[in-house]
């Protein structure tokens, strides 16, 4: 017994072994045993098959206890009665609940509810409606007046004194007496105090008006209205930022909210202490968060610190993600980097779980933070804080990730940087991805295998060709080629047909060999065009072409009859058996009508020949004995002279 027959016997034994009709005959078993003694390869196969059978035997039976047959009958009955033309009841795949994405929004909703609870019953500090006393706001480090800060255009210039230099809220300081006051500390006159109070009143009116009109509008509209509202005061040289700060402790929360947003949009580093104080007031928290995020880079450090507070973090994360600017993405990136690294050398499971949950929320936020967020994700992956798969998951839905990935692969990353990008490139499929993945097959082993796996799943003719070429060049295994073809046959069979046609035109014998060995065994209906292409290829052996045609007839669908009819005239007259196989397949898919249509242009008298041909193909046992049937069909074709114009 040689290896080939031993393997055949092993498969047969595996198939018969556990069955009631017994295993191999005794003689065959003895012969096989004798071969196994001296053949390690066959022994390995025997053990592997035994593993397969054992594993299959352990496979659980489907659960049937829950089946209520009366209910099932009722459902079938209902479907018949109410949806006579119903389609197969295949539901769309369910999307798993992504709780992490909702956490920031739930937290924001909780914040809104808290604010409602506070103000829904009326303000806690009732104003008597009279103008409040001139605010006690600082002038400078020495308690003197500061230079006014006219800033007609929104800016975040960081040129002012450190916030630490500012006195506390209850320090006895004065606002600048006039817009053009010098830096010299000068006691305010009554007239100056009155002008100052009037300016503050004007600011309060303007802000209140803006908030009542645009408080619930979008950020852009609100920002434009706030800017417009304070333009006159700024033109006069009033330090609007300082005036705004004096409004934060007022009795009117709406006014305080408007002032906070103004400070975020037009303030600078000096506004930080006021914003932080507002952060501690529950009713103002949402606007303080928005203002700090709007403030941008100067507030970055404070935001990172504030995010150690579990209640504030979701508010900031949601706001940072929505901002879609570089500064916000950088803050999110810092927070994510901190969350992705263990805080302590000995972290408990609980701590680790909380940290990773926080990291998940932050990565989600970066995914929503636009192109800058996508860039941050790539940086984190490059630092090995994210795996390639995690990066792919986050970038999948991220805005601008296609363009970003196209740019990154255009910069030709190497080694580990390229490896980590592969899953994202596979998932997002930016322009140039396929060519880039194919180039990675020239790289080191880890990179090559990752690229190969991506190409295997790509399911396009070009990717299949790349995998087959890699196998030919010794950079991929036969298994990879088979896996690529299987994947494409299941999900994109048209790509396989295109591949066969292309490889046939390119006279790529190696690729065609893989296709011949793989396709027929995995063929199903949609793969029929690929089988027909293979049958049309002259480089393929005649017997294999014949097999492909018969298989096309077996698994094909009626719509494939046309392709078979188109193939027939191109088959050389000398290839009698191939022509017969093509007719047999055509007959199987399209019946005698398809044959009549094919030979429609034959002269009168062909009808009887066609009838004989159909009778041969429809005879009992014709399908079970294809060889003799094809021989008879070929003879009939020869003698009848049936022809199709090429």
């Amino acid at each position: 017994m040689n290896c080939r027959s031993a393997r055949s016997a092993l498969y047969e034994a595996a198939d018969l072994g556990p069955r009631a009709d017994g295993g191999l005959a005794t003689d065959a078993r003895l012969e096989l045993d004798a071969h196994l003694v001296g053949c390690a390869d066959c022994r390995t196969l025997e053990r592997a098959l035994a593993q397969v059978e054992a594993a299959l035997a352990r496979w659980p039976a489907p659960p049937v206890d829950h089946l209520d047959l009366d209910e099932q009958v009722a459902r079938v009955r209902a479907a018949l009665e109410h949806a006579a033309d119903a389609q197969p009841a295949v539901r769309a795949p369910r999307r798993p609940l992504q709780l992490a994405r909702w956490v920031p929004w739930l937290a924001a909703a909780a914040g809104i509810l808290a604010a409602w609870a506070l103000f829904g019953r009326g303000p806690t500090r009732v104003s008597d409606g009279a103008p409040t006393a001139p605010p006690l706001v600082e002038g400078g480090p020495g308690g003197g007046a500061v230079e006014p800060e006219p800033r007609p255009a929104p800016g975040r210039a960081d040129t002012h004194a450190e916030p630490d230099a500012l006195p506390e809220r209850d320090a006895p300081v004065e606002l600048a007496s006039t817009p053009d006051a010098t830096s010299a500390p000068t006691p305010l006159t009554e007239a100056e105090l009155a002008r100052q109070a009037a300016a503050r009143e004007q600011l309060a009116r303007e802000l209140k008006s803006v908030w009542s009109q645009h408080g619930t509008s979008g950020d852009e509209q609100l920002a434009a209205a706030l800017t417009q509202a304070t333009r006159e005061l700024e033109r006069e040289g009033w330090p609007v930022a300082r005036l705004c700060e004096t409004l934060l402790d007022g009795a009117d929360p709406e006014l305080a909210r408007a002032a906070l947003r103004w400070l975020g949009l037009h303030g600078d580093r000096t506004a930080l202490p006021a914003l932080e104080r507002a952060l501690a007031v529950a009713a103002l928290r949402a606007e303080a968060v928005a203002a700090l995020v709007d403030l941008g880079a100067p507030a970055a450090e404070r935001i990172v610190q504030a995010c150690t507070d579990g209640e504030l973090e979701p508010l900031f994360v949601a706001r940072l993600a929505a901002a879609q600017d570089a500064a916000s993405a950088q803050v999110l990136e810092r927070l994510a980097r901190r969350a992705l690294r263990p805080h302590a050398t000995r972290e408990t499971e609980l701590e680790r779980g909380e940290r990773l949950a926080q990291a998940g929320r932050l990565l989600d936020a970066l995914g929503r933070a636009g192109p800058r967020g996508a860039e941050s994700l790539v940086r984190l992956a490059d630092e090995r804080l994210l795996t390639g798969a995690e990066l792919a998951e986050e970038l999948h839905a991220a805005q601008g990730s296609r363009a970003l990935l196209a740019r990154l692969i255009g910069e030709r990353p190497r080694g580990a940087s390229a490896s980590v990008l592969i899953p994202a490139v596979e998932r997002v499929r930016p322009d140039g991805a396929l060519a880039w993945l194919t180039r990675q097959l020239q790289g080191e082993r880890e990179l090559r295998e990752a690229a190969l796996a991506a190409l295997v799943r790509w399911n396009e003719a070009e990717s299949l060709a790349a995998v087959l070429a890699a196998e030919g060049a010794g950079r991929a295994s036969r298994d990879a080629s088979i896996a690529a073809l299987e994947s494409a046959l299941a999900d994109a069979p048209a790509a396989v047909a295109t591949l066969v046609a292309e490889r046939s035109r390119a006279r790529d014998r190696a690729a065609l060999q893989v296709l011949v060995e793989t396709l027929p065994l995995r063929a199903h209906g949609p793969a029929t065009p690929a089988l027909i292409e293979l049958a049309a290829c002259e480089l393929v052996l005649r017997a294999e072409r014949r097999e492909c045609l018969l298989l096309a007839g077996e698994v094909g669908l009626p719509e494939h009859a046309e392709a078979l009819a188109a193939l027939y005239p191109g088959l050389p007259h000398g290839e009698r058996e191939l022509r017969a196989a093509c007719l047999a397949a055509l007959h199987r898919l399209g019946g005698s009508a398809a044959l009549r249509q094919l030979f429609a242009r034959n002269a009168a008298g062909a009808e009887r020949a066609l009838e004989r041909l159909c009778a041969l193909l429809e005879a009992p046992g014709a399908r079970e004995n294809p060889t003799s049937t094809l021989l008879r069909v070929a003879q009939e074709l020869e003698s009848s002279g049936l022809r199709v114009a090429p």
């Binding site: 659960p63 539901r91 065994l521 199903h524």
Partner: protein, 198 residues
């Protein structure tokens, strides 16, 4: 157990428009159809939906059914075609998820219950084997998996499988070899591990 002649009588009555007779056919054959579909598509909900659809299709096609064929074979053939369509529609990724996460988890649990005395190492290895098998089953072409299910789990003869799947009996044999070859290729390393072990 119903005799074949009883089933054929029910089919004739159903063909004549007897609703209760068709209901009886559903009751008789729903569980085998569902079981076959469950093993083919890998999850309960889809199997139930497809089994119901099988009988809806069967009802529509009753007029074309000829008594010279076996009704269970005929109904399984409809189920088989629906399963192939289902695989095509839902794609490879979902199949992988259904088999790997549901069936493998169940198989692992059952394996652990069956051998409570197994060491954690042995259990881990067994779990790995089950996962590898489920992954290998995922990778099988739907036609190969269907043939394997009909042969290994349902113990059907080649002729019967050929009639259900619409191929020649010789093709069934080839497909079974191919299916086992694929599974052996994946599970081979486990066999080697056992050989290397104590």
């Amino acid at each position: 157990m119903h005799e074949a002649s009883d089933v054929e009588a029910l089919v004739r009555r159903a063909q004549a428009g007897d609703g209760p007779a068709f209901d009886s056919l559903v009751r008789l054959h729903f569980t085998p159809v569902y079981t076959f579909l469950h093993r083919t598509v890998g999850n309960t909900e889809d199997a139930e939906d497809l089994a119901q659809e099988t009988f809806v299709r069967a009802h529509r096609a009753l007029a074309s059914y000829r008594v010279d064929a076996s009704f269970p074979t005929w109904i399984l053939r409809i189920a088989h075609h629906l399963a192939i369509d289902h695989h095509r529609a839902r794609g490879r990724a979902h199949r992988a998820q259904s088999f790997s996460t549901l069936e493998a988890a169940r198989a692992e649990e059952l394996a652990a219950r069956a051998t409570p005395q197994a060491s954690p190492g042995e259990r881990a290895q067994r779990g790995e084997l089950v996962r590898a098998l489920s992954a290998a089953l995922d990778r099988l072409a739907p036609r190969l998996r269907a043939v394997l299910v009909l042969r290994v789990f349902e113990g059907r003869a080649y002729d019967e499988i050929a009639a259900i799947t619409g191929v020649q009996p010789a093709t069934v044999r080839t497909q079974l070899v191919e299916a086992r070859r694929e599974l052996a290729r994946v599970l081979g390393p486990f066999a080697r591990d056992e050989e290397d072990g104590p």
